[in-house]
C-alpha cells in the first residue's frame, strides 16, 4: 500500500506496509503466498524410560526408542499459489506392554511384549494452497506406510477474514482410510487384518484483542469407525466406533519491555468412551536481538479413564482393556527450544522431558503399572532461498 503524498506518517506507513493487510490470525504468512522457497531437515530422538522392575513380571524391560527424520519444502507457485512437501521417516524398536496381571500380593504388574518389536514408518504429505484477498484455501494429501499399518488421508482447510481484518473464521475437514495388518511373531495378535475410517471437522475463530494480543477459539468433532482395538494387546476389546469432541482456546500476548511473547493454549476433550481430558500448554518466546530465540515451554495434561478400562481386564464384559493409555493419569512435560539464524540459515534445537503419575491428574482411578515417561531431542537446519 503506497503512502499518500503529504502524509506526515508516510515514512511509518512505508515501513509498516508489510503489515497493512494482516488478518486477525496467522498474520501475513497465511494470507500471502511465500516470497521465497524454503527447505528444512530435522532429526529427532525419542526414548522411553525402561519399565521399573517392581511394576513388571520378569524384571526391568526396555521400551520404545524412535529415531525420526523430517524433510520440508515450501515453494511459491505462480502469483497466488504455494506447494509444500513434507516427508517423515521413523525407525522404531523396543517392547510395549502386552497385558497386566495380578501378582501374589494382589498388585497389578505388566507383562511386556518380550522380543523387541522393530518397524519403520514413512509419511509423505503434499499440500497446495491458494491465497486470495481475504484468506486462503488448502488441499492436503497424506500417505503413511508401516509394516503393519497403512493410511491415506485427504484434508481441505480454509480461512476467511472479516472486512476490517479483526476477525478470521477458519474451518477444516479431513477423511482418512486406514488398513491394519499386524506383524506376526513377537506376540499373538487379536486380528489378522482390519480397517478403520476417521472423519474429522474443525471450525475456529480468532480475533485481535489489541495491537499486542490475539485470541482464538476452536471446536472439533472426530468420528472413528472400524477396528479401534489395539491388535497387539492380549486383553483388549474396544467399541467399533468413537465420537470425540474438543474445544480449544489460544492466546498470544507480546510484551515490548522484555521483547518476548507469552503463548497459552488450552483444550478440553470429551468422547463417548468416557474419556475426558484437560490440556494446558504454556510457552515463553524470548527474543535476543533479531537472530536468536529461546523458548522454554511447559505442558500439563490430565485424562479420565475409559468406561471399560481396568488394570485386570474383565473378560466377561462386552468391552475391556488394560491399556495404560486408557487409564486415568496426569502428565507434566517441559523443555527448551532454541533457534538461531545465520544469514539465510536457521538452526533449531529442542529438548523435552515427559513424566506421568496417576496422582497428578484431576481425575481419580486405578494407577496403571505401565505409565510411560520419556525424553525427546530434536535438531534442525532450515534454509530460505532469498
Amino acid at each position: 500500500m503506497a503512502a499518500r503524498p503529504g502524509d506526515k506518517h508516510s515514512a511509518l506507513l512505508a515501513l509498516t506496509s508489510s503489515a497493512l493487510l494482516l488478518p486477525a490470525y496467522q498474520a501475513a504468512r497465511a494470507d500471502a503466498p511465500p516470497q521465497f522457497m524454503e527447505m528444512g531437515v530435522r532429526y529427532s530422538k525419542y526414548k522411553e524410560d525402561d519399565t521399573q522392575g517392581k511394576k513388571t513380571f520378569g524384571g526391568s524391560s526396555e521400551r520404545y526408542d524412535i529415531d525420526a527424520a523430517q524433510f520440508h519444502l515450501l515453494a511459491p507457485v505462480a502469483d497466488n499459489w504455494s506447494v509444500a512437501v513434507d516427508v517423515q521417516w521413523e525407525d522404531m524398536s523396543g517392547a510395549s506392554p502386552w497385558f497386566v496381571g495380578e501378582s501374589l500380593d494382589g498388585s497389578p504388574k505388566v507383562i511386556m511384549s518380550g522380543a523387541s518389536i522393530a518397524d519403520t514408518r514413512t509419511e509423505v504429505s503434499v499440500t497446495t494452497r491458494y491465497y486470495y484477498d481475504r484468506g486462503n484455501v488448502g488441499l492436503n494429501y497424506v500417505h503413511s506406510d508401516e509394516d503393519d499399518y497403512k493410511s491415506d488421508a485427504v484434508a481441505v482447510d480454509g480461512a476467511f477474514n472479516s472486512a476490517d481484518g479483526m476477525t478470521t473464521y477458519s474451518g477444516a475437514f479431513s477423511y482418512s482410510s486406514d488398513d491394519i495388518e499386524p506383524t506376526q511373531g513377537s506376540v499373538p495378535t487379536n486380528t489378522l487384518k482390519a480397517d478403520k475410517d476417521i472423519s474429522s471437522a474443525w471450525i475456529g475463530v480468532s480475533r485481535i484483542v489489541s495491537r499486542n494480543a490475539i485470541v482464538r477459539f476452536g471446536l472439533s468433532y472426530t468420528y472413528r469407525d472400524g477396528f479401534l482395538t489395539d491388535p497387539y494387546k492380549f486383553r483388549d476389546q474396544r467399541p467399533d466406533e468413537r465420537k470425540e469432541w474438543a474445544i480449544s482456546t489460544g492466546y498470544r500476548q507480546f510484551f515490548m519491555g522484555p521483547n518476548g511473547a507469552l503463548q497459552a493454549d488450552y483444550r478440553y476433550f470429551d468422547d463417548d468412551w468416557g474419556v475426558a481430558s484437560h490440556t494446558l500448554n504454556l510457552a515463553w518466546h524470548q527474543n535476543f536481538g533479531f537472530s536468536t530465540q529461546v523458548i522454554p515451554f511447559l505442558r500439563y495434561y490430565s485424562q479420565d479413564k475409559a468406561d471399560f478400562f481396568a488394570n485386570i481386564a474383565d473378560l466377561d464384559q462386552r468391552y475391556f482393556a488394560d491399556d495404560y493409555r486408557l487409564s486415568a493419569f496426569g502428565a507434566i512435560s517441559g523443555g527448551l527450544r532454541v533457534r538461531h539464524e545465520i544469514g539465510n540459515w536457521a538452526i533449531t534445537a529442542v529438548g523435552e522431558r515427559y513424566e506421568t503419575d496417576e496422582s497428578w491428574g484431576v481425575y481419580s482411578g486405578e494407577e496403571s503399572p505401565a505409565l510411560v515417561d520419556y525424553w525427546r531431542y530434536s535438531f534442525g537446519l532450515d534454509y530460505i532461498f532469498r
Partner: protein
Amino acid sequence: MKPLTYLFVALCLCACETVQPWERGTLAKPEMQWQTDPREISFQAQINASKEATSGGMGAAGGGCGCN
C-alpha cells in the same frame, strides 16, 4: 464446561479495541503465530496422541498411524 463458557463470553466482550491495519506489525511476528514451528508441533502431537487417549482440537484429525 461453564467456566469455559464464561471465559469465552468475557474474552469476546473485552475484544473491542479496534486495531488499525498499520498497527498490526507486532501481530505479524513469528512468536505471535498459532503454530510457531509446524514440524515441532506435528512430531510432538504425534507422540502425545500415541501415549494418551485424546488428541486433536487444533484442526481436523487427518490420518492415523500404528504408533504404540
